[in-house]
């Protein structure tokens, strides 16, 4: 930590001094989430979601490790082993529902975290690397969640795997061979289930590594803030502990309350009933839908219905689906406005809310059946999605005249007729 106003770790107890000279782990923690990390004093509740995502990851890892002790990655018994967890394993139902709903909560938190980044342009210099790592984490999460959903070997597990791995078939020349290589066969079967289990266990730890890099990269420039004005003096900051540990403690309580309501009273609300039917390769479900958190991208995939000369529509859909997330990688270079915060960007702000509505619409459409008029709506919503990032955002950055920024974070907080932290996003 290079801030001149950061507090220096000064151990008092002899044993801590001894430890600090040999393995400065307490110093590391102190500088990471303790009083040694100065944070802007004006962060609003949208800055809680990074910590919440970290907690969600830990819940998934802990419940997942215990579930793996009772689960069998064998197509003959995988479905029954999940029911064994639900019925015979002590508190197994609790672990499984925590894991399934924990994944949903993880994605809710991550989507809010990402949209926080969109609104306050958290991706801008000098924080591009934090953003790039964040998008990488999101991609890893999607791969992990997809493979996790296959493990119960229900109808949606099987047919979801069939559809998603089938996407690779659209790749010219190598597609079919690539699909067979990924699955270890012509369709999802024992080889696929076993490797998905292996990778589903591995990837969370890859995510954990990426999260460590994400936080490391965060600690170089320090946290952004709702005004987008960089820290100028020590007065602009408060130490992470106790100020943001206490605020995160409250946020964590709200997060856990929502998770508890889901697990205790609505554990299957976000799942699909068909996944309580054992996988049957001979019976295709009426509507194959992925888990809810993939719906916007599923809607984009299915929006391409017309071949573009020699490029088949399916390949276009696959390119667009992956492209819709990959576009986030170049966001720091698409948005050239010198102002970070959406609070001071009147035009950008309008388009931001259009994007939020567009994304909500894509969520709805991805879960709807692939028939008219939903396909037409998906085409419209997907067209806006790409236009927003690739056309509108660069243009807005060029033509927009931003509002004057506050002189400093402290000035914004102490109210010189500027929006305060509490009023952010209101």
């Amino acid at each position: 930590m290079s801030f001149p106003w950061a507090k220096e770790y000064a151990p008092k107890a002899p044993v801590m001094k001894w430890l600090d000279d040999r393995l400065p782990l307490p110093r590391f923690v102190y500088n990471a989430v303790g009083a040694g990390y100065p944070v802007p004093r004006n962060l609003n509740y949208f800055w809680n979601f990074g910590v919440l995502a970290g907690v969600a990851l830990m819940i998934q890892i802990v419940t997942g490790i215990v579930l793996a002790m009772h689960y069998s990655a064998n197509t003959l018994v995988a479905f029954d082993s999940v029911e064994h967890i639900m019925r015979d394993v002590n508190s197994g139902w609790l672990l499984r529902y925590l894991h399934a709903n924990g994944a949903s909560m993880f994605f809710i938190v991550i989507y809010i975290h990402i949209f926080r980044g969109f609104f306050f342009s958290s991706y801008k210099a000098p924080r591009e690397m934090i953003w790039l790592l964040g998008v990488t984490i999101f991609l890893l999460m999607m791969a992990t969640a997809f493979m996790g959903y296959v493990l119960p070997w229900g109808q949606m597990s099987f047919w979801g795997a069939q559809v998603i791995t089938g996407l690779f078939e659209a790749i010219p020349l190598v597609g079919p061979a690539l699909k067979e290589w990924l699955l270890g066969g012509f369709s999802p079967d024992q080889a696929a289930l076993n490797r998905f289990f292996s990778l589903h266990y591995l990837l969370p730890f890859v995510i954990l590594g990426a999260v460590i890099l994400h936080i490391w990269a965060l600690h170089i420039p320090g946290s952004s803030n709702p005004t987008g004005v960089e820290i100028k003096t020590a007065e602009d900051t408060v130490p992470f502990h106790p100020y943001y540990t206490s605020k995160d403690g409250f946020g964590l309580g709200v997060f856990l309350i929502i998770l508890t309501i889901l697990v205790g009273f609505l554990p299957n609300m976000l799942g699909h009933p068909d996944n309580y039917i054992p996988a049957n390769p001979l019976s295709t479900p009426a509507h194959i839908v992925p888990e809810w958190y993939f719906w916007p991208f599923y809607a984009i995939l299915r929006a391409f219905t017309v071949d573009f000369f020699f490029i088949p529509a399916k390949l276009l859909g696959v390119l667009a689906m992956f492209g819709s997330i990959l576009v986030w990688f170049i966001l720091p270079w698409l948005d050239t406005s010198p102002v970070r915060s959406g609070l001071y960007r009147p035009l950008f702000r309008k388009f931001f809310w259009v994007l939020v509505i567009d994304m909500a619409f894509l969520f709805y459409l991805g879960g709807a059946p692939a028939e008219e008029p939903y396909v037409m709506m998906s085409q419209l919503a997907s067209a806006y999605y790409f236009a927003h990032f690739l056309i509108i955002l660069p243009l807005v950055s060029m033509i927009e005249k931003p509002k004057p920024l506050p002189g400093s974070i402290t000035e914004a907080v102490l109210g010189k007729s500027e929006p305060t932290a509490a009023a952010a996003l209101a």
Binding site: F250, F304, G323, M376, Q379, F386
Partner: protein, 275 residues
């Protein structure tokens, strides 16, 4: 350069989507899609209420036992219950002796200790309910090509599961006169508007007075359908009561803890936030 390429890519994707939209809209207008017959005649499940509904609802064990009797005397002829063990019956108010006696009255697959040949033996508490058919081929052959689904998870494996089961079992009726000929039930099929394809392979399984309940409850089709639906809710989610109890206890704790966390947050920030 990045922005120029991005602009062109964005123009291509968005443009082609709009072209697809116009082509789709043209087809939609010139060749309107006829509404599906199934969608016109299909009925959403009836509204059914159970004692175990809601955050504080408890099992009505008398109802679960009645539902179990309906399953045992009617459904079990064709439908398995393979995730439920005989010993689980103790959770719906049967004594260990009653559960043992019931288990012993059923034959479960086994191997002859002397010859090694396939055999059967009386069930024990740890045994799961045996399937009425030796395998799927036998089940399919005996049921006109359809395999009667296992019922252990049926109320979680259908949208609005408990209401769906109750509605389906009590929802058989004569096909309406307006139903097109190609949607009329084929021989061996039965009209049921609660079934997605309207025509179901299972004949009406329940008739008034079919099961005699020990507690003297009425055995109308509606009552039996509801009772068996309650029983199948239990088979699908046997830990429902534990789950709700854990939910309420955890929620009470978390509300207290979160209130305290909020108060400490406000206290810590009291000086910093003031104007």
């Amino acid at each position: 350069m990045v922005r120029l390429i991005s602009f062109l890519v964005g123009l291509f994707f968005s443009g082609w989507l709009l072209v697809s939209l116009i082509m789709g809209a043209y087809t939609y207008v010139t060749e309107p899609i006829a509404p599906k017959v199934e969608a016109q005649f299909f009925k959403e499940p009836k509204h059914v209420e159970f004692a175990h509904d809601g955050a504080f609802g408890k099992w009505d064990t008398a109802q679960l036992q009645r539902g179990f009797k309906v399953y045992n005397e009617v459904c079990s002829a064709c439908h398995s219950l393979r995730h439920v063990a005989f010993g689980d019956l103790m959770a719906i108010g049967y004594t260990e002796e009653q559960a043992k006696a019931f288990a012993a009255s059923k034959q479960v697959p086994s191997v002859n200790g002397q010859t090694g040949e396939p055999d059967t033996r009386p069930g024990a508490l740890a045994d799961k309910f045996p399937s009425p058919f030796a395998n799927d081929v036998a089940a399919s052959a005996a049921n006109g090509g359809a395999i009667p689904p296992d019922l252990s998870l049926i109320t979680k494996a259908r949208h609005h599961g408990p209401a769906y089961v109750a509605s389906l079992l009590s929802g058989y009726e004569d096909p309406p006169a307006t139903l097109p000929a190609e949607n009329q039930p084929a021989p061996g099929k039965y009209y049921n508007p609660y079934f997605a394809s309207l025509n179901i392979g299972m004949g009406p399984p329940l008739s008034d007075g079919q099961v005699t309940f020990d507690d003297g409850s009425p055995s109308t089709v509606d009552a039996m359908a509801k009772d068996v639906s309650a029983f199948l809710t239990w088979t699908a989610e046997p830990k429902l009561m534990e789950r709700k109890a854990v939910g309420i206890g955890t929620l009470l704790f978390l509300i207290l803890a979160t209130t305290l966390a909020y108060m400490s947050y406000r206290t810590i920030w009291a000086e910093k936030k003031g104007h």
